[in-house]
């Protein structure tokens, strides 16, 4: 009975998201504070990287969430294109700035880490460059939303852009691997390895990752509510003008 499509009703979405928002925001704050404090104050220095290893607690989660935010936008755009649920399109719109900020954090902390470790702020390495391109995609997506007046057309066109952009983003990723061998180390976290990094670093990292994830969810819920209200506001003003 309780199908996921019920949340396509804005009223239902508003009620559920309002109930969920304090919880997700609370969990996000708790995880972020715990993870970051643990990571910053109570983890040892790495024998090679020294204390710069602490940057991992903001760099890796924000990078992971930057990609997941785009994936979420892709799924939301697909739902909008296929089933025409307005909430879905607005959720994609709401997620874009958050994803962009995550991308920016990953880039900035990466540069700050690279300066002492690799001896350079920026290196045209496949991973770094892919993130720069992801950032550009976020910028273009948001700019297209802003540029179009009619909300339905904007939702449609940005959804098409998101779909095509995803394809080209993946192609770019592999083109970059072909283009230049990188300095960047392999994935810090992956599911198919016994142990990724030493446990002392692993636990706080997982907690901050959960924190970033919940923060993303909370922000998207919150911003989607705002977008729904803004849409209603626009409709009311248009009605008044007609009257």
């Amino acid at each position: 009975m309780a199908s996921i499509w019920e949340y396509a009703n804005p009223r239902k979405f508003m009620a559920t998201s309002a109930a969920l928002l304090p919880w997700t925001a609370g969990v996000a704050a708790l995880c972020l504070v715990t993870g970051l404090v643990w990571g910053f104050f109570f983890t040892p220095d790495d024998f090679r990287q020294g204390s710069t290893v602490k940057i991992i607690y903001v760099h890796v989660p924000s990078a992971i969430m930057a990609i997941n935010a785009w994936l979420m936008m892709l799924v939301a755009s697909l739902i909008w294109v296929i089933r025409r649920h307005h909430v879905s399109a607005l959720a994609a719109k709401a997620a874009a700035p958050v994803g962009m900020v995550f991308t920016l954090i990953a880039l900035a902390t990466g540069a700050l880490w690279g300066q002492p470790m690799w001896g350079t702020w920026w290196e045209w390495d496949p991973r770094l460059t892919s993130f720069l391109i992801l950032f550009l995609f976020y910028l273009g997506y948001m700019a297209l939303w802003e540029a179009i007046d009619n909300p339905d057309s904007a939702a449609d066109l940005t959804a098409v852009l998101c779909l095509v952009g995803s394809v080209f983003a993946v192609i770019s990723r592999y083109a970059l691997l072909f283009w230049n061998q990188g300095l960047h180390q392999g994935a810090t976290l992956s599911l198919d390895r016994e142990q990724n990094i030493a446990n002392v670093f692993w636990y706080p990292l997982v907690i901050t990752l959960a924190g970033f994830g919940f923060l993303f969810i909370a922000l998207v819920l919150y911003r989607t509510q705002t977008e729904i209200r803004a849409r209603r506001l626009k409709a009311l003003i248009a009605q008044e003008r007609m009257a």
Binding site: G50, S51, T52, W113, I237
Partner: protein
């Protein structure tokens, strides 16, 4: 305060940048939400009276 050694500047600044950006996006969201909500209430009240 842990001893950050020679790398104090990059570590501290990356934490500062990250937290700053996160707080910025949160504040921007709250700001916009407040503004939209106030405008919406404004319009709805006006319509309520006129109707």
């Amino acid at each position: 305060m842990p001893d950050l050694g020679t790398y104090a500047l990059p570590v501290l600044s990356s934490y500062a940048v990250s937290l700053g950006l996160l707080i910025a996006v949160i504040i921007a969201s709250v700001w916009k939400a407040r503004r939209v909500r106030a405008q919406l209430e404004n319009v709805e009240n006006r319509r309520g009276r006129s109707a």
